[in-house]
């Protein structure tokens, strides 16, 4: 088990944020999405026209908002870790709740986006681009949902005083997972919503 280092600013060189188990999971997640992105690229080659026109039919505002929620959630979770490194549990908790708000905002935006899609006839029946769009975004939603479950656990543990400046491996592990989920969205958003 990896011991979290006591530091108020930066961890030492060669550190592993959180623990190896979580990193095994993160690398699996990145591999899973690498496969899905490969599907995107192959489909883009074979259905070039659909992929050129597809983004125009998506709700760019929803995509932009979700990018803002994901980036901001990442920012808040990084701050939560910085706070616990200074033994400031109450501040760390506030940041964790803000992460939860961002995640909830992401889910609500996604729900409204899908509702808008239905109203505007955006479905998998419309071709390869929309099949890939739904497959990528639904898989991402699943990872955000799992992240929310993990976040609830971390909030519970923080309330119980489980984390301190000298030990906060669980929080760092969760933070790493959340950042990885943000990273995936930072790829999904431009590929689906911007690139024509």
């Amino acid at each position: 088990m990896e011991q979290t280092l006591q530091t108020t600013e930066y961890p030492q060189d060669g550190h592993i944020p959180g623990n190896r188990g979580m990193w095994a999971g993160i690398l699996c997640e990145m591999t899973e999405f690498a496969v899905l992105f490969t599907v995107y690229f192959v489909a883009r080659l074979f259905f070039a026209e659909e992929f050129r026109t597809g983004p125009d039919q998506l709700n760019l505002l929803a995509g932009t908002l979700n990018t803002i929620w994901m980036i901001t959630g990442s920012y808040f979770v990084a701050n939560a870790v910085l706070a616990i490194r200074k033994n400031n549990t109450s501040l760390s908790l506030r940041y964790l709740y803000l992460v939860f708000l961002c995640a909830a905002a992401y889910m609500v935006t996604k729900y409204l986006e899908y509702k808008w899609n239905v109203a505007h006839g955006v479905s998998v029946q419309n071709g390869a681009f929309f099949t890939v769009y739904y497959y990528l975004t639904l898989t991402h939603i699943l990872h955000v949902f799992w992240g929310m479950l993990g976040l609830a656990w971390i909030i519970f543990r923080t309330h119980g005083g489980a984390y301190s400046a000298s030990y906060h491996e669980g929080m760092e592990s969760f933070a790493s997972y959340w950042h990885a989920t943000d990273l995936v969205w930072l790829i999904i958003f431009p590929l689906l919503y911007l690139l024509r």
């Binding site: 550190h15 944020p17 992105f37 932009t64 990273l183 930072l186």
Partner: protein, 89 residues
């Protein structure tokens, strides 16, 4: 600059890039300018989150290199596939 100040500035930069990209996507025609912006900002945003939010800049080299490689490979593949699918390669 403290770590907290640094990530706060970087967060603002990421937000500006996001809004700028969406504006560009909304207002511009399809083309190489948009594609370049998309690939470069994807690479930059990923690198910022990896190095400074995840603190992988000085992390174990296997983890750091694997995650950073993702944001070299994806933008390059995006560029190549874009050129292929538009008949330029």
């Amino acid at each position: 600059m403290t770590h907290k100040k640094l990530i706060t500035w970087l967060w603002l930069v990421l937000l500006i890039l996001t809004l700028g990209g969406s504006l560009l996507g909304e207002m511009s025609q399809a083309g190489y300018l948009l594609m370049l912006f998309v690939t470069l900002s994807m690479a930059f945003k990923g690198r910022v989150v990896i190095d400074h939010f995840m603190e992988l800049k000085n992390a174990h080299p296997f983890i750091r290199n694997t995650m950073q490689a993702y944001f070299y490979v994806l933008p390059i593949v995006t560029l190549v596939i874009y050129l292929f699918s538009s008949g330029r390669l």
